[in-house]
Amino acid sequence: MKPTGLLFFPAFDWAISPTHPEREERLLYTRDQLFEEGIMDLPGIKEYKPRLAEPIDIAAVHFAVPDLNAHLLEAHFVAAGSTLVIADAFMKGEIKNGFAIIRPPGHHAMSVSHGNRGFCNINNEAIMIEYLRYHYGVKKVAVIDTDVHHGDGTQEIYWDDPDVLYISFHQDGRTLYPGSGFIDEAGGPLAYGTTINVPLMPKTTDEGIHYVIDHLVLPLLEEFKPDLVVNSAGQDNHYTDPLADMQFTAQGYATLNHKLAPDIAVLEGGYSVETALPYINMGIIMAMAGLDFSNLREPDYARENFRESSRNLELIKKIVEVQLERYRSSQEEIEKNRRSKTEFFNEYRRIFYDTDYIHEEQKVRLRNCQHCCGFRMIESTAQQRSGKLYRVMCISIPINCCPSCRDQAISNYQDLIRFDRYDYVYLQDRIVRQYRVCQPDLEREEIIK
């Protein structure tokens, strides 16, 4: 039996600020618990060492404005690189599954990055997924976001990609950051149904969450048939989390991972550093390694405190029913959109960066294509923390793009760099893994290595 890969990178020398939830102390007690349990000594566990991600790995996902060095610290390169280490080990068959317990987190980071939002600068899972698609030819990926916050970054990155199924359950956006993830957010016009959101009422317990797993997540995985299942493993649904208000337990998390059987899990949020993280991390590792986790519990756990209300359960059942139906009828919706005479689908949106206090405006255009899911052009404007205003154009050619869309995307890029309408024009060509950055006014173009 192959071991479970474990990459523990607590970044003991990185913090957003000394008293921020993302501080050095976050995984300290998890370290104590894991080390004291001696879980790394078990034959069923293989520990890995992080490495730095390359700029090209990050550029495969992000348009960092103006460039990667502007907001990224070495810690971000290490966290992203850690997911690549686990991905390599998994694809090379060294491990049966893998868990990257890393910080900083990433699931709020979107394609265009002007700074830090929701404690995230770059999206670790997306960087890993694009790496796997290019280097190993992985086609269909399912991301199950088990963080209490809606993973709006991951959702945005794969909004128009029908080969990535993104399912997120989270505390209802009306009661928690980032205020999104409602049931109608279901994917772009050509990838409708491969984004599935399950907003849950505060105080939802193990029972409610497991209803979603059993009756929605597992059936959808069965139907979608992904080549790879990723758990975006936030730990803040826990009943002691200081930033959220749910009632999930360490047993609940362990059981979830037992059922979900993710190929790769990547830590996201979770800020109850003493009373939750040590136990949840143990639980996830044990579940992934196939160890009996019945002896795991929090010191203050008392079963009688966690009863799901029948009213909430009814609501959950209704959401599950709606979302199952949506997924199953999504092809019709996509065909309808394709048949429309629209050449480009347009969308306007505003994105708020809570950590860095930036308001970004985006105009997104998606090409309507009969053969593929089109390519995206994102026009982004934001005044960054430095006070500098950026107006940039980002063109993204997805890995499953058809030749005609790709040609047009490249020709659009070439047209745009002839005028200094934008401070920066980016071309992200995932098919040949080439990422260009151009400053039209300086007539300077760079290829990210």
Binding site: A11, R31, P299
Partner: protein
């Protein structure tokens, strides 16, 4: 004068060292049923040339006693009493056939989260009495942060069953890793009486011989421990053989280079690394009977090929066998060996080279190979095996987990400077290994007694780990099992924590007679965490490690 004796699996080596000279060396076959007598015989042989016993200043012994007791199942029946609390299933701990579990739990901050059950402990005492088990090791999860459960269990057990010998895991080690602490305590309990007996015997014998020298035991980490202090920590003496040869390599080279140390024995070769002049330690501690322990040990990789490994042509295949049949043909043996292949092919003129050729020819005939081709194949296999194992060791060292951004950005990289050959067959084999690894070989005329020399001149070592939790006024120190409340640490900064660790090091070092080395301490671990609750700091956590690292005694200035 200095004396070093290394009791190995096959031979017991001894050296008498004076000034810059090796005055006498002794090699005798080891009698595994009576380790002491051979050791004392070797001591007598060495003392023959000493005019005045008083001139012997230091004796260092390296013995396989504890390793042997455990490996051959001669350790006494010992109950392992675990207080694991929540976490891994009980089935994860299958160390002893007599394992017992007690309820009770402590968390990572040392807070009790579940009390002990008095009734359980009393009925356990009854059970042990009934089963006639006279030794027990007690280990609780996070007992390194709060030892009260282990103490209470010992107290109640002794009350109920006075004859029971109890070893506590927190007394043996204070570091994180409960299974390793449990294993170390369990093995300690198993061999403790035999070790006390050994120490008694040695002390008596030395007294009878009128020796007043300081006596040390070589530890697995390449450092020494005064014989008297070893009573509490018998497991520290395991795997001292590879530690002896590694320290021997350091004694012969005397610099800060990166060396691969290859100790070529009869049928195995042990590989170790000197990184900038310090022996590289196994990152997970020594592994005993398949269990990781908290014993710091030189990282050793063993290869099943030695100088006396016989060559054979079996089932249509040319093979290097693992069972020794005697010395190499050139040294009077009756089989062609690895040494013979190197000796003949490289014209090394070791022993009777004609016998090498004669015995190699027999195998070459069977394999229908030219003599030169046969030798080349063997040499190739040996060199490839050794150099691959070496590269794996580098890689393992480079890939040891790291938990800080700084460590990942500044990747460590190992560049080898040379290969040091130890053991009689080193002269034949090492130059070719060094050539493959593209570095210089280093072989000294005293290479074959480097282990005993290494023991004789290794200095004492001591590592002190300090854990402070200012919010809980908790202070925990290893060694010694100190876990206590300290009201004075509330305002501590990292410098204060470091100073406290150094104070403990001085205090313990003086007891161990290490005064000469204390100023040479190094800080090897320094961690500080602010504890933030709400938006303000409520305390600090410190982990500090200071040590006297392995090295050579001041009196040793090299060998002529």
């Amino acid at each position: 004068m200095l004396i070093g004796i290394d009791v190995g699996g096959t031979f017991t080596d001894g050296v008498l060292f004076n000034g810059r000279d090796i005055v006498k060396t002794i090699k005798r076959p080891t009698d595994n049923n009576n380790l002491q007598s051979v050791m004392l015989d070797v001591l007598d042989d060495l003392l023959e040339v000493v005019p005045d016993q008083k001139t012997v200043e230091r004796i260092v012994l390296s013995t396989t006693l504890v390793t042997n007791l455990l490996a051959t199942g001669q350790g006494k029946r010992t109950a392992l009493i675990l207080i694991p609390g929540y976490g891994l299933p009980h089935a994860a701990y299958h160390l002893s056939p007599d394992t017992f579990f007690l309820s009770g739990a402590i968390d990572f901050r040392g807070r009790e989260i579940q009390p002990l059950s008095l009734n359980e402990i009393i009925s356990l005492a009854e059970k042990l009495k009934k089963q006639g088990i006279k030794r027990a090791a007690v280990a609780g999860k996070f007992s390194n942060r709060n030892r009260s459960h282990e103490d209470q269990v010992a107290h109640i057990l002794k009350n109920e069953y006075a004859d029971l010998e109890v070893t506590l895991s927190c007394d043996i080690s204070n570091r994180l890793n409960f299974p390793r602490r449990a294993a170390t305590a369990y093995f300690t309990a198993m061999v403790s009486p035999e070790w006390q007996h050994f120490v008694d015997e040695v002390e008596k014998a030395l007294q009878q011989k009128g020796l007043e020298a300081e006596v040390h035991i070589l530890k697995a980490d390449g450092g020494t421990l005064p014989l008297s202090s070893s009573r509490k920590y018998p497991c520290e003496t395991i795997f001292s053989g590879p530690a002896a040869s590694t320290m021997g390599a350091l004694a012969l080279t005397m610099d800060n280079q990166n060396s691969l140390v290859v100790d070529i024995g009869g049928t195995t070769s042990d590989l170790a690394l000197l990184v900038e002049g310090l022996p590289l330690h196994a990152s997970k501690g020594a592994r005993l009977l398949g269990q990781y322990t908290h014993v710091d040990a030189v990282s050793v990789r063993s290869i099943a090929i030695g100088g006396d490994s016989p060559l054979a042509f079996v089932d249509g295949e040319l093979r290097i066998l693992s069972q020794r049949q005697g010395p190499a043909a050139c040294f009077g043996g009756e089989t062609a060996t690895v040494t013979d292949a190197f000796n003949y092919r490289l014209s090394l003129n070791q022993g009777d080279i004609d016998r090498s050729r004669e015995y190699l020819q027999k195998i070459a005939d069977m394999a229908h190979l030219k003599l030169e081709d046969l030798c080349d194949r063997i040499i190739n296999q040996v060199v490839t095996t050794l150099s691959e194992a070496t590269r794996e060791m580098f890689k393992e060292w480079e890939n040891e987990p790291a938990y800080r951004v700084w460590e990942i950005v500044h990747r460590k990289h190992f560049t080898l400077d040379r290969v040091v050959g130890i053991g009689a067959a080193a002269y034949c084999i090492i130059p070719r290994v060094a050539e493959t690894l593209e570095v210089q070989p280093f072989i000294h005329r005293y290479s074959d007694v480097a282990n005993a020399l290494g023991a004789a001149v290794a200095r004492p070592t001591l590592s002190v780990y300090l854990h402070l939790d200012t919010e809980r006024s908790l202070c925990a120190v290893e060694p010694g099992g100190i876990v206590e409340k300290r009201s004075d640490i509330g305002k501590y900064q990292l410098e204060d924590a470091r100073q406290l660790a150094v104070n403990y090091l001085y205090e313990m070092g003086k007891v161990r007679g290490m005064d000469d080395y204390l100023e040479d301490y190094k800080v090897f671990l320094e961690e500080q965490f602010n504890m933030i609750r709400g938006w303000s700091r409520t305390g600090r956590l410190f982990d500090v490690g200071v040590q006297i690292a392995p090295g050579l005694i001041q009196a040793y200035q090299g060998v002529e």
